[in-house]
Symmetry: C2
Subunit: 218 residues, 2 copies
């Protein structure tokens, strides 16, 4: 299946022309985001918690303390909505109401479950580290049993999902094309700065090339 | 009042040392974010919608089409959680489990209401444009009655709120300080690229200095 089926909840209603149910498009946005916003409700009170996520095949993952309210609530089977959004630029148009932003976003609806078992949990966390820093997991000491126990990993199937994106120049009305204001796009990107060594780092440990020229998912 | 009172829902439970209820700290994060994630529920289904927000005094604002499901649902009085989060860096530590991210986030809980009346709506939208592009509102043609009618603006009091932030180097355990891996922070910033003029722009209209050296809220 290369396309997700829109449901009443996942169907893009505003600006449907910006919507997509294409698996590759959805995965690309999920993989480009460094963090997600996990939505769930405690009774009638919604909560939106930002956290790091990652994807393995057709499942979305996130993690936290085993004692986290967010993880505990979600593992109990309440419905979730996990949204990943990326800002790509500011769109300056010829009228106030046609100003916009360029962005990519994906919303995944479903129910999460805890990743059970030491090996499965470790494999998931290895994925998280390797997604951001390929090769690093093998350079780190093995996790302790206490660290593994103190961490919960949740995963959710990527099934009920939609993507939405805007790109390109402003879309002004014909009647406004004579307005004498600058119109265009200011691109925005999550850019890495020069790495800052831990003040406690042994100066004999050199900055790896991969970090000197690091590019974050974006 | 310079400090918000934590409530059972707004109190920071995980890493309470990262939490803050200071009004200035919360406002700084809300103002630094270009977009927020609005959480609400349709029945038992949570939704998390990314959108542009802005702040005026002690109220948070966002807007959209008058026909938007998100705005319509929220204006009916259901509870909301609006979260603004900013990623400041990747924290590379000496063990997998001490890896982290530097971030700033604020969660605002409450109930939104529609901004009623032509003048109040226009004033709010002027704030949105001026927040991003000081001086631009006056350069744009006045909005039409149809544009004003087709747009809904919501606002929510900033009362039940918390901020959470992490900054600085990795915090490794003493027993790990001898690990022979690089440790430190890779800073991340939302950086502007060179502005791209609308291909339809009259070449006689020059790029304003303010856009050539634009710095987004961040």
């Amino acid at each position: 299946m290369d396309t997700f089926t829109p449901t009443p909840i996942s169907k893009v209603k505003r600006h449907p022309e910006r919507g997509s149910y294409d698996r590759a498009a959805v995965y690309a946005i999920l993989d480009a985001g460094l963090s997600c916003h996990v939505g769930y409700a405690l009774g009638d009170q919604p909560l939106v918690t930002p956290t790091i996520h990652w994807r393995e095949g057709d499942r979305l993952y996130w993690h936290g303390s085993a004692a986290s309210r967010m993880l505990e609530t979600l593992a109990s089977g309440v419905k979730a909505c996990v949204t990943v959004s990326l800002i790509d630029g500011l769109v300056l148009a010829r009228s106030a109401f046609t100003h916009s932003m360029n962005y990519r976003s994906a919303m995944v609806f479903g129910t999460a479950r805890r990743v059970e078992g030491r090996a499965a949990k470790l494999a998931a966390l290895e994925h998280l580290i390797e997604r951001l820093y390929p090769g690093r997991w093998a350079q780190l000491r093995p996790p302790t049993e206490q660290e593994i126990k103190a961490t919960s990993v949740l995963s959710m199937p990527i099934e009920e999902v939609s993507a939405k994106a805007r790109s390109g120049p402003p879309l002004d009305h014909d009647k406004d094309m004579g307005e004498r204001v600058w119109a265009g796009v200011i691109p925005l990107t999550l850019a890495p700065g020069a790495p800052i060594a831990d003040p406690k780092l042994d100066p004999a440990i050199a900055l790896p090339d991969a970090f000197a020229r690091y590019t974050p998912p974006r």
